[in-house]
Symmetry: C2
């Protein structure tokens, strides 16, 4: 009887994988990972060159994109089926052997693995290995502490409404904005309205090949960054040296 081991791979640099995750990846017989159709997949790219010879790979390809689906309802339905099928397949594999599922970042922090996790609960033993979240790789790339002292840090998704973004950006010391992509123009406007645009950094492909770290205000409006996180650093509220 095997188990399902979800390995958090960290932000992208394979050297930032944990010792334990790296060992599981190297020893894995069965390796599953999400990817978009026709793409190598972020998680798979991180382990390039690390998998054992003869390891069986299971690319879990998202069935369709929002652009193709005729409605959000259809999209979510198809996606639910997709997760059901893979949960079934992985559970059956785990009857005989361990199965490693690769996840970029930290699996419990906005990770897609959770859709399988809920479906696998009670059907297979599950082990989750923490990883360095993508945002931590990004603030490491900037080379400044994201938060200090009594700073309040808020993690926001670019998918939120502009009004909510403005409100939350205005009343937090440190900010992390994920799911930027198509929402970047809105995120940028919200930061400007909240008076935080000049402090904002855009980190694209943090810790990965092709990494780019720029001031968000310096990005051309037509520039469409990919896999990017926006950061605003805290200044160390009520900084007490000895916490």
């Amino acid at each position: 009887m095997g188990k399902i081991i979800c390995c958090g791979l960290g932000p992208g640099d394979p050297e930032l994988m944990s010792v334990r995750a790296a060992r599981e990846v190297r020893n894995a017989k069965h390796v599953a990972y999400f990817r978009k159709k026709g793409r190598p997949g972020y998680a798979r790219r991180i382990v390039e060159g690390l998998l054992a010879e003869g390891a069986c790979e299971y690319p879990m390809e998202y069935p369709l994109t929002t652009e193709i689906a005729s409605s959000e309802g259809e999209y979510l339905y198809r996606l639910g089926e997709f997760y059901d099928e893979w949960a079934e397949r992985l559970a059956r594999l785990a009857e005989n052997d361990d199965v490693v599922v690769l996840c970029e970042g930290d699996p419990y922090f906005y990770g897609s693995f959770m859709h399988l996790h809920t479906r696998l609960a009670g059907r297979a033993e599950i082990e989750v290995i923490a990883g360095i979240p993508g945002m931590a790789g990004c603030w490491n790339s900037v080379g400044l502490p994201i938060a200090l002292g009594d700073d309040v840090m808020t993690v926001l998704m670019g998918t939120l409404s502009e009004g909510e973004l403005v409100r939350r950006m205005g009343n937090s010391d440190a900010l992390v904005v994920m799911k930027t992509g198509r929402n970047l123009a809105k995120v940028r406007r919200a930061l400007a309205t909240a008076g935080r645009l000049d402090e904002a950094w855009l980190i694209e492909r943090g810790t990965m090949p092709g990494e780019r770290v720029t001031r968000l205000a310096d990005i051309e409006e037509t520039d469409c960054p990919y896999f990017a996180i926006v950061l605003v650093h805290g200044q160390g509220r009520r900084m007490k040296a000895a916490e």
Copy 2:
């Protein structure tokens, strides 16, 4: 000419250290770490058994505690001197050799190393290796995703005023409360007022020996947890399966 390498060690389990941090720790000739007087030190404990034979250790002992200082002003002054002295000493060591500074968690996320970082800037080459933040080790110990979908996550310090805690606890999906310790009673009251106490977990020594995961509401008022983080999990706001 050496450099100063600040190694993020992750939440406590040595196996959760990054591959790169583990290598630097094993190869280090000079190893510095903060600790309270008379204590082994959290960071030092994580690397127990990993240091090379003959590695020189530099425990940087905090000069005094707030209890002993006659005033906060004196305390901060003494602490400033302490950081100045160690920055000077480490910079001199780095003239000939690499110096590894051990930091629990992620150095750029509320880490004490930052007090040396600012003092060392321009005097020595500095390299910072990201680590899994302590909070990520804690939510891994609970075994539930801390945030999903469009959840807003807020990181709060228990040192904030009760009013501010209540307000922020009430309007965020997922919550992380650090610097609990002596502030735990206040944190608990604030969660109750915000209607979130029943969802709150207390994680003590996350991923370390002696780890304890409990519902905060179940803790006796007289129970004084140590090195603890409080978590409230998000429920996946406007959950879209395919982000």
